[in-house]
């Protein structure tokens, strides 16, 4: 088999960064082969792929050799590079919403390459576009030609991206986290599509991912990267079953496991919600009359005891985050929500404020959840100031230090700013900010999905410890079933704002009743 892409001793350094992004990577892909590049964020896997097509900014210092289909990519002139990109190798990105031009129709997105490379026009161009769209599994492609990206679903967008990448008939397809932004059921479909296309066209596939399930399912060979270095290389099955390097072992072991501490039998009920509804009015016309409602949450009842975790599972758009926001009064909701016997739904914004210390929230994105202009100590202490819990500076400082120790942060770091911390540390800061108020309930809105697997496991362990120690009740919102299983006592499966299934974690995972739950479970096991 011919080698499509040959990378020797690749080194990449960005200006102003001391540590090289990639330091000495060797990589070969042959036709028809799938190579997975695995590693946590910042390990240099995406950067290497971009370098293979010379798509990095000019300021990046790249050395070594990259040969793609016989072309030396590091010295080739720009005109030759343009020929190579698209026809020899094409790339699909993680987030199809931003990778597609929002102002171009599907026809233009896919047709662009065809026009430039093959000079197709008129009916032949259109016929080829339709052919490509049906190849990637878009139903009734004729009707989709005039659609804009925002009119497509996430899965359809990713399919259009793939069609656009295939337009130049590339020998090598680089897929940079192609399914990370998609729901689990869609992930399975897209991966199956990629596999089928590869077999049919005999393409090489360079798959960049952090998800070991994807590796198991797709890859022939795998390279594990850590801090810009390939630490392990081998067949996918071999590496997965007998990892040699400590880092690979840690990655595989970091799959979430275990179960939360059992709820004490005599635990008090802390949250009682009946028939909660969050309807967003849809307004139309000049007079903005309400013509209908978007039912974000449509009549959900639930209860929660101290020390208990309720996992809320569903795909994006199922209303699980909306429910979380409604429960702690961040969104106006109808119905009865009482926390510790105080009916929140009857309180106005101002009257609600003193009660807020009893229910806190931790968000998904640890980068967006911390004000970049406040030192970490001030971020964590903000709740104390707002509720005037610690009038003296010394007492405030002592509490901040204590809570930082509790979440596993060095208290010496309290004068630093959020950008100096890693994702996992930031999530600990966010947890500390909630914890310092000694809340009864914490809503955890996908707290681990922006984190690498190994960090995820640490955060889950931390959350379980804190629960056992303080008897906090969690509402744990996630689409990641493995994480939910490791955290939850009871699980609530949501779809279109309604409860599909509800029960103990054990029952849901071993004996799911609703067909939708079964579908989710199968997809996550794949």
């Amino acid at each position: 088999m011919s080698v499509l892409l040959d990378i020797q001793n690749l080194r990449i350094q960005f200006p102003g960064v001391d540590v090289p992004a990639v330091s000495g990577l060797d990589l070969q892909i042959s036709a028809g082969e799938t190579l997975a590049l695995v590693g946590e964020s910042g390990s240099g896997k995406s950067v290497s792929a971009l370098a293979a097509l010379r798509l990095l900014p000019k300021s990046a210092a790249v050395s070594g050799s990259i040969t793609l289909a016989g072309v030396d990519m590091l010295t080739a002139p720009e005109a030759l590079l343009r020929d190579v990109r698209g026809t020899k190798a094409a790339i699909i990105f993680q987030e199809p919403m931003t990778a597609l031009n929002p102002l171009h129709t599907v026809e233009r997105q896919v047709g662009e390459t065809l026009q430039q490379k093959y000079r197709l026009t008129g009916p032949t161009l259109r016929a080829r576009i339709i052919e490509l769209l049906s190849e990637v599994g878009i139903d009734a492609p004729e009707t989709r030609l005039a659609s804009f990206p925002h009119q497509l679903s996430g899965g359809q967008r990713q399919r259009v991206m793939i069609a656009a990448a295939l337009a130049g008939d590339p020998d090598l397809l680089i897929a940079d986290e192609p399914t990370t932004a998609l729901d689990v059921t869609l992930q399975v479909q897209i991966l199956a599509l990629l596999k089928a296309l590869q077999t049919k066209r005999g393409m090489g596939l360079l798959l960049i991912t952090h998800d070991l399930n994807v590796v198991r399912r797709m890859a022939d060979r795998v390279i594990v990267m850590q801090r810009g270095l390939a630490v392990e290389e081998g067949t996918a099955a071999g590496v997965m079953q007998h990892p040699q390097h400590a880092y690979t072992q840690a990655l595989i072991a970091a799959e979430p496991s275990g179960a939360p501490a059992p709820v004490p039998a005599d635990a008090d009920s802390v949250l009682e919600a009946r028939d909660v509804k969050v309807w967003f009015p849809i307004k139309k016309g000049v007079l903005r009359r309400t013509v209908g409602y978007l039912k974000g949450v449509d009549g959900i009842s639930l209860s929660l005891k101290a020390g208990e975790t309720l996992g809320v599972v569903g795909e994006s758009g199922s209303g699980k985050s909306t429910l979380g926001y409604a429960l702690i009064g961040l969104l106006a909701a109808q119905g009865v929500i009482s926390i510790a016997d105080v009916d929140l739904s009857r309180l106005s914004g101002r009257a609600l404020r003193p009660h807020r210390r009893h229910f806190q929230i931790v968000f998904q994105d640890p980068y967006g959840a911390l004000n970049p202009r406040l030192a970490v100590g001030d971020l964590i202490g903000e709740g104390l100031d707002l509720h005037k819990l610690e009038p003296t500076a010394a007492g405030r400082d002592a509490k901040i230090v204590a809570v930082m120790r509790e979440v596993g942060l060095d208290p010496e770091m309290r004068h630093r700013y959020p950008h100096e911390f890693s994702g996992g540390q930031r999530q600990r800061i966010a947890i500390a900010r909630a914890l310092i108020l000694q809340p009864r309930i914490i809503v955890l809105d996908e707290p681990t999905s922006a984190l690498d697997r190994s960090v995820q496991a640490q955060v889950i362990a931390l959350l379980r410890d804190l629960q056992a120690k303080h008897g906090i009740a969690y509402v744990f919102i996630s689409h990641d079933l493995a994480v939910v299983r490791a955290m939850s006592h009871r699980i609530l499966v949501m779809r279109h704002g309604k409860i599909v299934e509800e029960g103990s974690a054990e029952a849901i995972f071993t004996n799911p009743q609703a067909s939708y739950t079964r579908l989710l479970l199968e997809a996550s096991k794949a």
């Binding site: 702690i328 929230i361 968000f363 911390l370 004000n371 970049p372 202009r373 903000e382």
Partner: protein
């Protein structure tokens, strides 16, 4: 909180790395600092007079001629040769400013007709009322920059306030204010100034007030957009969940993070403030007659084409001032651009 955040330090570093902008800032700061002491640099009174009659500071206090041993109980004409002799008689001396003319000093001893050409006495010549151009320039520069600073500061306060309220609350408040701004922005400022000139004598403060009524809108849109963006961040939601009131959220979390666009905009806003005052002065609707101003100098240049030093001087000074500010603005923009470091 004396500690400078690393972000601020990085921005300062980027700012300094833009050589052109950094040097422009230094030059501008130097010029502004110098012109702040215009009275000491260009004045028709000596800085210090020392004679047997005592020690005098005519720039600071006004004295009568009798104080110096003269005849009249009125303020002396310090530039009169008679006064110099008077001091000499009393074994005294005096220190004159570098330019012995104030902006309104009329030179009666010009060789020819005003406006006179640049010479040893009047380095940049005189205008058509025999006043020293350099002295007027120094005072005019100061008043332009001060006007620009004041107008920018006022516009920033109002613009940020209104923009923040609009962006944060949205809905009907936003809609109402937005419509108001559209109407308000359509009012013809120049006609209002002409009407004002008919009712009162427009001075510095009148002009400042009237211009401030309109110039804040330049910033309002930028701040509104920034606040709209920032208010949806999770840390704002987290602050609400912590129990923070709207006011605290705005001041502590939203505004500081929405300030980047504002700060970047300020040098350019100051630029336009200065041009507005200059054009008003040029048209004759600006500062009261006799005031030193760049616009008035340009108008003189236009009316006295036979005296090109007037127009050329005005043009060079105004162009340099505006260019300095644009370079400063560019450096500030670079400093606040987060992607700058990565390129």
């Amino acid at each position: 909180m004396v500690k400078i955040s690393p972000l601020t330090r990085r921005r300062w570093h980027t700012f300094r790395r833009n050589r052109r902008g950094y040097v422009s800032t230094l030059i501008f700061a130097l010029l502004f600092a110098l012109t702040l002491f215009a009275e000491v640099i260009a004045n028709d009174r000596p800085i210090i007079v020392k004679s047997d009659a005592g020690l005098f500071f005519p720039i600071v206090t006004s004295y009568a001629e009798t104080d110096f041993g003269g005849d009249f109980p009125t303020e002396p004409d310090y530039r009169d040769p008679y006064f110099a002799e008077l001091v000499k008689e009393k074994n005294g001396w005096m220190i004159w400013p570098l330019i012995p003319f104030a902006f309104d000093t009329v030179s009666k001893d010009l060789g020819g007709q005003a406006p006179s050409k640049p010479d040893g006495q009047h380095w940049l010549g005189t205008d058509d009322q025999a006043r020293d151009v350099l002295a007027r320039l120094i005072y005019g520069f100061r008043i332009s920059v001060l006007f620009g600073l004041c107008l920018t500061a006022i516009s920033a306060v109002i613009g940020v306030g209104v923009g923040a309220i609009q962006g944060y609350y949205g809905g009907w408040i936003d809609l109402g204010l937005q419509r108001f701004i559209e109407v308000w922005g359509g009012l013809p400022t120049l006609y209002l100034l002409i009407i004002l000139a008919a009712v009162v004598t427009p001075n510095f403060w009148w002009l400042l007030g009237l211009m401030a009524l309109f110039s804040w809108m330049a910033l309002e849109g930028v701040v509104r957009a920034e606040v709209l963006r920032v208010r949806n961040f999770d840390y704002v939601r987290a602050a609400r969940a912590l129990g923070a009131s709207d006011g605290i959220i705005l001041i502590r979390h939203v505004l500081p993070n929405a300030m980047v666009a504002t700060v970047t905009f300020l040098p350019f806003l100051m630029n336009s403030s200065i041009s507005v005052l200059t054009s008003l002065d040029f048209l004759g609707f600006g500062l009261p007659p006799g005031s030193p101003s760049l616009g008035e100098l340009l108008a003189q240049g236009k009316n006295n084409i036979q005296a090109p030093w007037l127009g050329i001087t005005g043009f060079i000074v105004l162009a340099s001032l505006l260019t300095l500010l644009v370079f400063m603005g560019e450096a500030v923009r670079d400093a606040f651009d987060p992607r700058r470091d990565q390129r």
